[in-house]
């Protein structure tokens, strides 16, 4: 039951993008097409799951026993950066077109604050090992969900009659704000 709560909370109630406002850069940058946003979401989810696992291990076997909490940021960023490198190599091998479509935003997953935020949160909340992985998975799924939702709407917007002043980024920000308010409706669910 607690596992389901952690997962749903990370996906909906405290969605990293739409409620916590973390990782807005790829949220606006890679949400033009559903396909690329799905790829971006999956890549980020993978990094989040691995990062949550490794961060937990580092926190509980290195940082906590040796009293090095001040190294949290450095250690976690190290984990995230390495994982992003791995994902980048894998995607370049597996799907060059996806690699091209994601462009600069793929290496920028490293600096996606949603991932570091997730790693710091799971330490702050002293989750168990299993719960950390579920939390990472939920955060990733929530991130993917937000990206795909916005991408779906933006694809439809291509055909809409938008006032000149709002075309492009302007309307995307408004839609993102509306989505965020909609997710506010989940507050208090868990």
């Amino acid at each position: 039951m607690e596992i389901a709560l952690i997962f749903l909370s990370a996906v909906f109630v405290n969605n990293f993008v739409l409620v916590r406002f973390l990782g807005i850069c790829p949220f606006m940058g890679v949400s033009r097409q559903i396909e690329t946003s799905l790829g971006m979401g999956l890549a980020t989810t993978f990094v989040m799951v691995v990062a949550s696992t490794v961060s937990w291990l580092i926190q509980n076997f290195i940082l906590a026993p040796y009293n090095l909490p001040y190294l949290q940021n450095v250690a976690f960023i190290l984990v995230i950066a390495s994982m992003v490198q791995l994902v980048e190599m894998f995607i370049n091998k597996a799907s060059p077109s996806l690699y091209k479509a994601m462009g600069i935003f793929l290496p920028l997953i490293t600096t996606n604050c949603a991932i570091l935020g997730m790693a710091l949160l799971l330490v702050m909340r002293s989750y168990s090992f299993g719960h950390s992985i579920i939390f990472g998975l939920g955060a990733g799924v929530g991130f993917t969900l937000a990206l795909v939702l916005l991408a779906g709407i933006r694809e439809e917007l291509e055909f809409a009659d938008i006032p000149d002043a709002l075309k492009g980024a302007g309307i995307a920000f408004i839609i993102a704000g509306l989505l965020s308010m909609a997710f506010g409706g989940f507050a208090g669910l868990v």
Binding site: Y66, L71, V79, M89, F90, N92
Partner: protein
């Protein structure tokens, strides 16, 4: 001291583990790249400035190899890099395989051109042009520096005589000034060409001479003198075809109005590039 040592060792250990993992992964997920792309990238300046319109030197290299971008697309490398890229790709350089830079086709500054009125409006050529301009010549440079304002590379400045000057070493041929000029006075030409007919006046000889002491009066002496038929006169204005010009400077020697300008530092071209 002890905790510092622990911190160093633990972070060093983590870094080593991840580095080893990535080294293995980079072998496993290695992607075969076209060796030409690597060679092209090697020949490029490698500063990733983005002036070519691509994300960086590596994406420009890919575009060049795939034929999407022209080998002379790198404004920073100029004609040397363009030649090198053509050698790598085994393709011929045509007349356009060189760096382009902006040329100002008007010599009528404050000293040479007659002013018919005093302009006190906004310092913008486009606005001055809308009300007809303040110069006797309806085709000449208005001298308000709109082109200089739009230059993103600080490659232009206004001279004391009220004409834009182009610093050719800084010019990247981006064409911003060409688009900004309401009178189409600025054109892009290959950086090898050193002979320019600096006039845009379509007026007949007499009104042109009345308005400006260096305007083209369409006397056709340059047309007769040119050994490669690069100059033609159309609508009362001599025009030079840079693709044909060989910088021989014979036209400039006979021009009675001194409209034709030579840049001494640019050597005479023995042969056209397309013939090499």
């Amino acid at each position: 001291m002890d905790s510092t040592l622990i911190a160093l060792v633990s972070m060093g250990f983590l870094g080593a583990v991840f580095a080893a993992g990535l080294a293995v992964a980079s072998k496993k997920f290695a992607v075969d790249v076209n060796p030409q792309v690597a060679e092209v990238e090697e020949a490029l300046p490698g500063i990733n400035c983005g002036a070519c319109g691509y994300g960086g030197c590596s994406s420009f290299a890919e575009a060049v190899v795939s034929g999407e971008a022209a080998p002379n697309g790198c404004p920073v490398g100029g004609s040397d890099v363009a030649r090198e890229l053509c050698r790598i790709l085994g393709i011929e350089l045509d007349g356009k395989g060189q760096r382009v830079i902006a040329q100002v086709l008007c010599k009528g500054g404050q000293e040479e051109a007659v002013e018919q009125s005093t302009y006190q409006g906004p310092r913008d050529c486009r606005i001055a042009h809308m009300i007809g301009g303040h110069k006797g010549c309806g085709y000449g440079c208005l001298g308000l520096g709109t082109c200089v304002d739009t230059c993103p590379f600080e490659a232009m400045a206004m001279s004391d005589n009220g004409l834009p000057v182009i610093y050719e070493d800084k010019c990247t041929g981006c064409g911003n000034c060409v688009r900004a000029c309401p009178r189409d006075i600025i054109v892009l030409a290959g950086d090898e060409y050193g002979v320019h007919i600096r006039c845009r006046s379509l007026a007949k000889g007499k009104p042109t001479r009345d308005a400006c002491s260096v305007g083209c009066i369409a006397c056709r002496r340059c047309v007769k003198e040119c050994p490669v038929s690069a100059i033609t006169v159309e609508d009362n204005l001599a025009r030079i075809d840079y693709d044909l010009c060989i910088n021989c400077r014979k036209c400039a020697a006979v021009c009675p109005m001194n409209t034709i300008d030579i840049q001494d530092e640019k050597p005479v071209l023995k042969k056209k590039r397309s013939e090499v």
